[in-house]
Amino acid sequence: MAGQSTAGQHRHSSFTSTIATVVLALAFCAGFAASAPPPGDQQCLACHQSEALVKPLADGDSLSLHISGGEFAKSVHSAFGCKSCHRDIDPARHPASASIASKRDFSIERAKVCSGCHSEQYHQWERGVHAALVRAGNPVAPLCTSCHSPHAVMRGAAQAMDTVPCQTCHGAIFTAYASSIHGVLRAGGVTQAPLCFACHGAHDVKVASAGEGLRDACLSCHSEAIARHQTWLPNTTLHFQMISCPVCHAPKAQRTVDLVLYDSTSQADASMPMGVPEFENRSGANASGLGSAALFELLRKLNGSGASSKTSIRGHLDVRTGVEAHQLVPASMAISDCNTCHKTGADAFQSVTVSVAGPGGIPIRYDVNKNVLNSAFSIESISGFYAIGATRITLLDVLLILALLGGFGIPALHLIVRWLSKQPAKRDDNEQRQG
C-alpha cells in the first residue's frame, strides 16, 4: 500500500509539474509575445521599424517595408516569428536586389505564403467571388493581405463591427447595414445579429443575391420564417422562391424584376454559370434596354435547331442595389400589404433587368424595357415570370373589354330588337280588339 501510495504521489507530482510547466511556458510565451519579439525578429525589426524604409517598385510606385513593432508584438502572428512567413529571405543576402513589379503582384505572390498555414481558408477564398475577381484581373479585388494586415492580425478583429474589413471596400453597403436592424442589434451587443460574414461567408465570399443564396442566408437564422409567413401569406413557398427577402423587409428600396435564363431541361439557373454574350451585345446596342420582340427573338435563337436543352426566362423580384439590400427594418415594419406589388402599375414592376453571370457569379444586370412584362410576346419570352395583376398582358385586357361589351351588348341589342319587333304586332292586336 505504501509503495502504491508513493507511486501515486509521484504520478500526481509529475502531472502537477507538467501542468505547471505548460502554464509557465504559455505565460512566458504570452508575456513574451506581448512584450518583445524574439531576438531573430528584433533583428528584422531593427530595420523594418523605420517608417522611412521603402522599396522602389518596377511600376514606379514604392512599397513601404515598415513594420510596427508594437502592433506586431500584439499580433497573433508574432508568436511564430518573422521567419515563419519569410523563409525565402536569406539574412546573409538581405536586402536582396530582386525586383517587385507592383504592390498588387507582391500581394498576390505573398497570398501563397498565407496558404502554407491557412490552407483551408485559402481554398475557401479560391472558391469565392473575391478570387474570381482576382483571376478576372480586377485590380482591387481583395487578397489575404487586403483584409488581414499580416503584421497586425488581431484575434476577433474581423468579427467586430468597427474593425470588420469588408467596410474598407464596401463602405456604402456597410453604412446601410449599420443603420439596419441587424447593424443596430449588433452594435447593441447582440452577437447573434449577423455581421457581413454570417450571410456572405468569411473567405468563400458569395454574392448573396445570386440564386437562392440570399433566401438561404436569411433562413439559416430565421428558420421559423416560412412557418410564420404561412399564417398569412397565400402561396408562401412561391413568394419565397420568386421574391428576395429585402423586397419586403427593406420597404424603402427600389425594386426591380430581375430576369435570368433558366434551363427547363435540367431545371437550373442557366445564366448564372455561363452568361450569355447575346444579351450583352443586344443590351449594348440598345441603351433603352431590350424590348419584348428582342427577348422573344433571342429565346428563339437560343432554342433554335441544335439546342440541347430548352431555355426559358424566369424572373424574380429583387431590390435594385446592394446598398438597398442591406436597409433591413424590423419585421413589424416590413411590407405585408399584397396591393403594394399586385396593384396595377405597382412600383415593383417599373424596373426590369436581365442578369448575366459576371466573374465569380456576380450578376451583371442590364436594363430591359419594362413593357416586356405586359407584352403578348411575354407568353413565350418571359414564360417563367408572372405577378398577378401587376404584369398582366394588355392584349388580354382589350379582349376582356370586348367580351364584356359582347356578352352584355349583344343580348341587350337582341332584347331591344325583339321589343321593337313586337310593337307592330301588339298594335294590330289592340286595333283588332278595339275594332
Binding site: H342, I393, G407, L415
Partner: protein, 214 residues
C-alpha cells in the same frame, strides 16, 4: 301544354352551384386581376375566396360528370357525328335567333326527354363542359399552388402560358355567362326556363308530346 320532367335533381343542384360559383369566380377573378383599379375586396381576401370557390366548382364538375356518365341521360351530350346535320341544325337555330324570333316564327327545336338541347346549345355545352371547364379547372389547380405543380407548369411552357390559358377561358366565360342568362329568357315566357331549372319540369305543347309518343 304538358309538363315534361327533363332536369333531374342532381343536375339542378349542380347547375345552380355552378352558375353562382362561376359568377363569383368571374367577380373575384376581376378583383384579383384589377386590384388598384377595382377595390371592392382586399386582394388577399379575393384570392382566398377565389381558391375556395374554385375548389367547389372543381368538385361540382365531378358531380356533374359522374351523374351523367352513369346515366342514360348522357345521350343529351352525345355529339352530332354527322357534320352536315350538325351544320344544318346550328344554322337553322341561328337563323331563328337572329331573324325568325323577331318575326314570331316558331322555334325549330322541339324539346323531349332525350333531346333537351337545341343543336347550338348542344354544341356550346359540349365545348363548355367537356373542354373549357375542365381546362379551366386544371389550370386553376396549377395556379393555386405553382410551387407544388412546377414540373407540370414547366412542361406546359411556364406560368405565363398557364395563366394566359386561364385568363383566356375566363374572358370566354365573361362573354358566355350573360349570353347564357339571356338565352334562358327566350322561352314562351321570360322565366319559363328559369323555373324549369328549379322545378325540373319544362312545359311542352301537346302536339309535340304526341309527336314524341308517335
Amino acid at each position: 301544354m304538358r309538363k315534361l320532367y327533363v332536369h333531374q335533381l342532381p343536375i339542378r343542384i349542380w347547375h345552380w352551384i355552378n352558375a353562382i360559383g362561376c359568377v363569383l369566380l368571374v367577380l373575384t377573378g376581376i378583383q384579383i386581376r384589377y386590384v388598384g383599379l377595382i377595390d371592392v375586396l382586399p386582394f388577399r381576401t379575393a384570392v382566398i375566396y377565389h381558391d375556395w370557390i374554385g375548389a367547389i366548382i372543381v368538385g361540382n364538375f365531378f358531380v356533374w360528370l359522374l351523374s351523367y356518365m352513369f346515366s342514360v341521360r348522357i345521350r343529351v351530350y352525345h355529339p352530332e357525328l354527322d357534320p352536315i346535320e350538325l351544320f344544318r341544325g346550328c344554322v337553322r337555330q341561328a337563323i331563328y335567333y337572329s331573324y325568325g324570333i323577331f318575326k314570331g316564327a316558331p322555334n325549330p327545336f322541339h324539346l323531349s326527354r332525350t333531346r333537351k338541347f337545341n343543336p347550338l346549345q348542344s354544341l356550346t355545352y359540349q365545348i363548355v363542359m367537356l373542354l373549357l371547364l375542365p381546362i379551366q379547372c386544371f389550370t386553376g389547380i396549377l395556379l393555386w399552388d405553382l410551387s407544388r405543380f412546377s414540373r407540370v407548369v414547366d412542361m406546359l411552357g411556364g406560368v405565363r402560358v398557364v395563366d394566359t390559358v386561364h385568363v383566356g377561358i375566363f374572358i370566354i366565360f365573361v362573354f358566355y355567362i350573360p349570353f347564357h342568362a339571356y338565352l334562358g329568357t327566350l322561352g314562351r315566357t321570360p322565366l319559363e326556363h328559369y323555373k324549369a331549372m328549379f322545378t325540373g319540369y319544362e312545359e311542352v305543347p301537346e302536339d309535340q308530346e304526341a309527336e314524341k309518343s308517335a
